[in-house]
């Protein structure tokens, strides 16, 4: 069994890598072109973390959850804040996903970032980002979790804005940071709510900041024997936590930051979308799942937001021409599936989908990076025909796409079907709504995935970076785009993709088979992750066939419109032009936020108020302070010319004043 120190090691080894890179390597090798050592240290650290994570997983499988109380960090108001560890089946799975995906991304990054002047900085940030995510999933205390949560936010800010000299990247980083902050505020309120109601927890012998204790309190709350969080109280806590998840997992209405986050280096997107940042939101709901279960309203909100986001984001992916944006919308949509699944109580299937999604989405992003390496563009209108020059990338991307579209027997098929099956079996109207939305999402997903796939790899090559620059007009005069060198990417990039492709192809069935498979018992994953005594119903083959038929149908439609050149597709898009425009403007939500909310609401009204407050109140206070100190300075100034007597008189009078006050008192 893995020891407490071993689990800490999973977190501390990448922290150590960060420290070495930031404190030793960067100062020494700042001017070196590509200091490979920085990449190697990060990779080595994550490989070590991966080994320990697998060990942790095996330990949890054999011995059940590993909970370590850890040490007391602070004692405030009679309550201990502890820094501990909580490694249950959820954490164990997350650890393997995070470290595994991160490792493949680091290997890939080494080739992708070669020659970038920020190579060392990149790996320092990557170590920080991975470490923060690991710290988040192993946290045993909600404050500890919150600190890591914010560190993940910091890491994403640094990485999205990695090329900070590009205004778009800097703006995207700021947007991601601010938008997620709105959600974080809700999370913070939930924590404070728990803190202020600590009395009720302490009465029961529980610590309101320990995650285990919060989970333990949930059944009491549901049973109505927990006064402080009864009634609406628990709903507020759940909604606050959910707000944090909505921000981080880019759910409607806080989804706007994720598409812009594409400004970061592509491997960063792979990491953000597959294993770290956005998965944190889903993890958070799963972590406090008992609290959600105690509140029907909160569960309904989670289900509806998730299901709506799943469809809503998928529609925006339909017309986007930027390959990374298609994938970004796709991530938002797939996260919607997970959130919706949690909302209808399908805890196991949600985590299962998180698990399989990590593989195929990381694969697709790395594939997009590979394509970009060859063509110099992300705009699919200037790609096409890459099938012939990049056969390996083509094949690997095909696996990822089939998995995303939910085609048998790829990983996505199994996990998506479990969610659908759960919604189908659900007893009430809510499940029916969720089911209808998610089924619609299946069709949309199949279409946009293969639209993207065909536009990128089929048809004729449409010129890459050169053509893009020509199309954008003379904006780029004097800075000619590099000639695309159409060739397959290097092995260092292909191998990590291959590893992910194995997962995208087979991980679904291997970890959660329908029947006993060699050493793997049937429905292993469901039993492992799911709560005690959870049932793992067999596959609903009729439903599965229907969903997959739908996917195939829409892949077919995509083939009709986009496989042979873009003629048919263009005609269709022209026919529904207003809708396309709306989709390309992302339903005008960004415009609304930036125009009405930010410009009018913040700048004019809030800004105006703050300006008034600053001018009238703050300045007046400062002026008063200045006046006070000037007049005080007058007295002090007199004495500074040599009259220490003033001080002596002041002190004596002060002592006298105290004395007189007390004499009058008594």
């Amino acid at each position: 069994m893995i020891s407490e120190a071993g689990i800490w090691g999973i977190f501390l080894i990448p922290v150590g890598a960060l420290a070495i890179i930031a404190l030793v390597i960067r100062p020494l090798l700042r001017h070196h072109r590509t200091p490979v050592i920085a990449g190697l240290i990060t990779m080595g650290a994550l490989a070590a973390s991966l080994v320990l994570s697998v060990w942790a997983l095996v330990s949890v499988m054999e011995d059940g959850p590993l909970i370590y109380d850890g040490v007391t960090w602070l004692t405030v108001a009679g309550m201990e804040m502890r820094v501990g560890l909580m490694v249950d089946s959820l954490t164990a799975i997350m650890l393997v996903v995070v470290t595994g995906v991160s490792l493949t991304v680091q290997v890939y990054s080494h080739a992708y970032m070669k020659g970038d002047t920020g190579y060392v900085r990149y790996f320092a940030f990557m170590s920080l980002f991975s470490a923060a995510m690991i710290g988040l999933v192993i946290a045993g205390n909600i404050i500890q979790l919150y600190v890591m949560w914010e560190l993940v936010g910091l890491g994403s800010y640094l990485l999205i804005g990695f090329w900070f000299h590009r205004p778009a990247a800097a703006a995207a980083a700021k947007k991601a940071f601010l938008v997620t902050r709105i959600g974080d505020f809700g999370f913070l309120l939930a924590i404070l709510y728990l803190f202020f109601n600590r009395g009720a927890f302490i009465e029961q012998g529980l610590n309101p900041l320990n995650i285990v204790d919060i989970q333990a309190a949930a059944p009491l709350i549901a049973a109505g024997t927990f006064a402080a969080l009864g009634g609406l109280g628990v709903t507020w806590v759940a909604v606050g936590i959910f707000a944090g998840a909505v921000g981080k997992s880019a759910q409607f209405p806080l989804h706007v930051w994720l598409p812009d986050a594409m400004e970061g280096p592509t491997p960063v997107s792979a990491l953000i979308h597959a294993a770290t940042m956005v998965a944190a939101g889903v993890f958070l709901i799963a972590r406090f799942f008992p609290i959600f279960q105690a509140s029907e309203e909160a569960m309904a909100a989670v289900a509806l937001v998730g299901a709506f986001t799943a469809v809503f984001a998928a529609t925006m992916a339909l017309t986007s021409n930027d390959i990374k944006r298609v994938l970004a919308f796709s991530t938002v949509s797939q996260l919607g599936y997970m959130v919706a699944a949690l909302g209808i109580g399908a805890y196991g299937p949600a985590i299962f989908h998180l698990f399989t999604h990590a593989f195929f989405k990381a694969l697709l992003f790395l594939g997009a990076g590979s394509v970009n390496h060859a063509t110099g563009v992300f705009d699919m209108r200037y790609m096409g025909g890459l099938r012939k020059v990049m056969p390996w990338t083509y094949g690997l991307m095909l696996i990822g796409s089939l998995s995303l579209a939910g085609i048998f027997p790829f990983a996505g098929f199994w996990s998506k079907d479990e969610i659908l099956g759960h919604a189908w079996r659900g007893p009430d109207g809510l499940d029916a709504i969720v089911f209808a939305l998610l089924i619609a999402g299946v069709a949309l997903t199949a279409f946009y995935t293969f639209r993207m796939f065909y536009m990128t790899f089929h048809g004729e090559f449409r010129g890459g970076a050169e053509a893009e620059q020509k199309a954008q007009g003379d904006a780029a005069v004097g800075n000619p785009a590099p000639k695309p060198h159409l060739a397959e990417s290097s092995l260092v990039m292909l191998l990590p993709m291959g590893a992910l492709a194995l997962g995208a192809a087979a991980a679904g069935y291997l970890v959660n088979p329908q029947v006993d498979l060699l050493d793997i018992p049937a429905h292993w994953f469901s039993y492992f992750v799911g709560p005690e005594g959870a049932k793992a119903p067999p596959l609903n083959s009729g439903l599965a066939a229907f969903a997959m038929g739908l996917s195939v149908l829409f892949i077919g439609i995509a083939s009709l419109t986009h496989l042979k050149g873009r003629g048919a597709g263009k005609r269709v898009e022209r026919a529904v032009q207003p809708a396309v425009t709306a989709l390309n403007r992302r339903y005008y939500i960004d415009d609304l936020y930036e125009g009405k909310v930010v410009k009018t609401g913040f700048y004019r009204y809030l800004g105006g108020f703050l300006d008034w407050f600053d001018q009238q109140i703050v300045d007046a206070l400062v002026d008063a302070a200045g006046w006070l100190s000037r007049n005080l300075g007058w007295a002090v100034g007199r004495v500074q010319t040599g009259q220490a007597q003033f001080y002596a008189i002041g002190a004596s009078l002060g002592a006298l004043a105290i004395l007189v006050t007390y004499l009058i008192w008594s």
């Binding site: 040490v71 108001a77 400062v622 000037r630």
Partner: protein, 496 residues
């Protein structure tokens, strides 16, 4: 004196010995840096002796060793302050090397006087008899007064003279207070005073209750100078501005810590049953000190004056703890208020040291202490700018730094003692203080350097001292247990 007494005094004896040795060596040694090195290394001896004493005290059933005819009580409370003073002295001497290089003479005396003043402070923490307290206090103050005037400039001389006069005044008040207390209780031993105070007032003594009241208030006034609380704070800005920076640093941390040590001990041991609302007195003084210090600090243009007012404000925060402690003393209290106060003192010590060390280095570069000249310091010296920023962030009370935790402790102790209003005043003051602290940080990072002339880099010993103290600030903020472990132990001897 018995062997036991010598053992109890051994840290102080070794300190005095070290001071004399350094001053003697000064006659023979050409490179004065050797003297500083010698002193820093030599401080290991009193530290080691204090560690031995700590272990012996731990083994003792009563948790204390009393000696020198009952004038000295060595317990964990005293030893905590000894470590604080000795640690500050060691860091300070390492950091003063750059500064002292500019002194053309008296470098050996500089080191010697610092060590002698430190001796007074370590004694002060352990003294439990009024005359010993007074003598220790003078031993603390006189070397510092001499050093204030060390630069020979008119500002420095003025600082020294003012400090001397006001120190004399405070000593006079203190002595007069002590005399009255002695006259009323018939003893100079704190424990015996405490016993005498328990008895009901003897009606035959004329003005009995009044006399003790006057005596105690005068003692408070005397200690008030040491901790630079309002209304005894007026010397602070002038002395801070005029005196050599390392002396100011020592004054602002070690001297203040020793002042709190003796104040706490006197109140816990001698006057626990005094029927007065001390909590309210300290609370009001705390509120005034914080507000006054922070408001006036806002308009300062000299960084040393700024830190002077900041030091007054922090005396106010510390007195929040004192108020919480005072409201607990009559009913037996628990560790949290006293422990919080000690924690804040410890965190404040490393924070202020880091700030002053960075300022010594920066002042060497810009040749003065004008805040405007700090512009662009991040480009000219990233380490100094980063060190100062860490200290400033901690002084505001922003995580992850020591004083953030310190403020949480202090303010929650105040709330527990039904002084919620004081906690609110403290929080508002912390927010206000961000204005002038961050102004300095912003100037260093956002503004362009006024000049990019190459200046010699700071010495390694200064940089090391800065790094150690800044890391300590963060370490205490991230893992407060390093310090709470010590402060809980230190608080225990005073609690019933």
């Amino acid at each position: 004196m018995t062997v036991q007494d010598v053992y109890l005094l051994s840290p102080e004896i070794s300190l005095v010995g070290l001071a004399l040795l350094v001053m003697a060596m000064d006659l023979f040694v050409k490179r004065k840096a050797v003297l500083f090195l010698m002193a820093v290394v030599g401080l290991a001896l009193p530290v080691a002796l204090s560690v031995m004493l700590w272990m012996d005290v731990q083994a003792e059933p009563g948790g204390r060793l009393v000696g020198v005819y009952g004038a000295l009580t060595v317990d964990k409370f005293a030893l905590f302050f000894k470590f604080l003073v000795l640690g500050s002295a060691a860091l300070l001497l390492a950091a003063s090397l750059d500064y002292a290089k500019r002194l053309t003479r008296l470098q050996g005396e500089f080191v010697g006087l610092i060590l002698l003043s430190a001796t007074g402070m370590t004694l002060l923490a352990a003294a439990t008899e009024l005359i010993s307290i007074y003598v220790s206090l003078e031993l603390t103050a006189l070397p510092l007064i001499a050093m204030c005037a060390f630069l020979g400039s008119s500002r420095s001389g003025e600082a020294g003279l003012k400090f001397l006069i006001l120190s004399g005044l405070s000593s006079a008040l203190l002595l007069y207070g002590m005399t009255l207390v002695y006259g009323f209780t018939g003893s100079t031993y704190l424990t015996e005073i405490g016993e005498a105070m328990k008895n009901p007032l003897d009606p035959s003594v004329p003005f009995g209750g009044l006399v003790i009241l006057v005596g105690v208030v005068l003692m408070v006034a005397g200690f008030g100078f040491k901790i630079s609380s309002v209304p005894f704070q007026m010397w602070v800005p002038d002395v801070y501005q005029g005196a050599p920076t390392p002396v100011v640093a020592f004054l602002s941390v070690a001297s203040k810590a020793a002042g709190f040590a003796v104040l706490l001990r006197v109140f816990y041991v001698a006057f626990p049953s005094l029927e007065m609302d001390w909590a309210l007195l300290f609370a009001v003084l705390a509120a005034i000190s914080m507000t006054f210090g922070n408001l006036v600090a806002m308009v300062q243009t000299n960084v040393k004056r700024l830190l002077g007012y900041s030091s007054i404000a922090h005396a106010g925060y510390l007195m929040v703890g004192l108020a919480a402690v005072a409201s607990r003393i009559p009913n037996g209290g628990e560790t949290s208020a006293l422990g919080s106060l000690l924690f804040y003192l410890g965190a404040y010590t490393v924070t202020n040291l880091a700030a002053f060390f960075a300022i010594i280095g920066i002042a060497n570069k810009i040749g003065g202490h004008k805040i405007d000249d700090f512009a662009g310091m991040a480009k000219r010296s990233p380490l100094l700018a980063a060190g100062l920023t860490v200290a400033l962030v901690s002084l505001i009370g922003i995580p992850p730094t020591g004083l953030f935790i310190g403020k949480i402790f202090l303010f929650s102790a105040a709330v527990e003692s039904d002084l919620a209003w004081l906690a609110v005043v403290g929080v508002v003051n912390s927010v206000v203080s961000a204005y002038y602290y961050l102004k300095v940080a912003r100037l260093m990072y956002m503004a362009e350097p006024a000049s990019d002339e190459e200046t010699p880099a700071s010495s390694i010993s200064l940089r090391l001292a800065l790094i150690v103290s800044a890391l300590a600030v963060v370490a205490v903020g991230v893992a407060p247990r390093i310090l709470t472990w010590a402060t809980d132990a230190a608080a225990s001897p005073l609690l019933p």
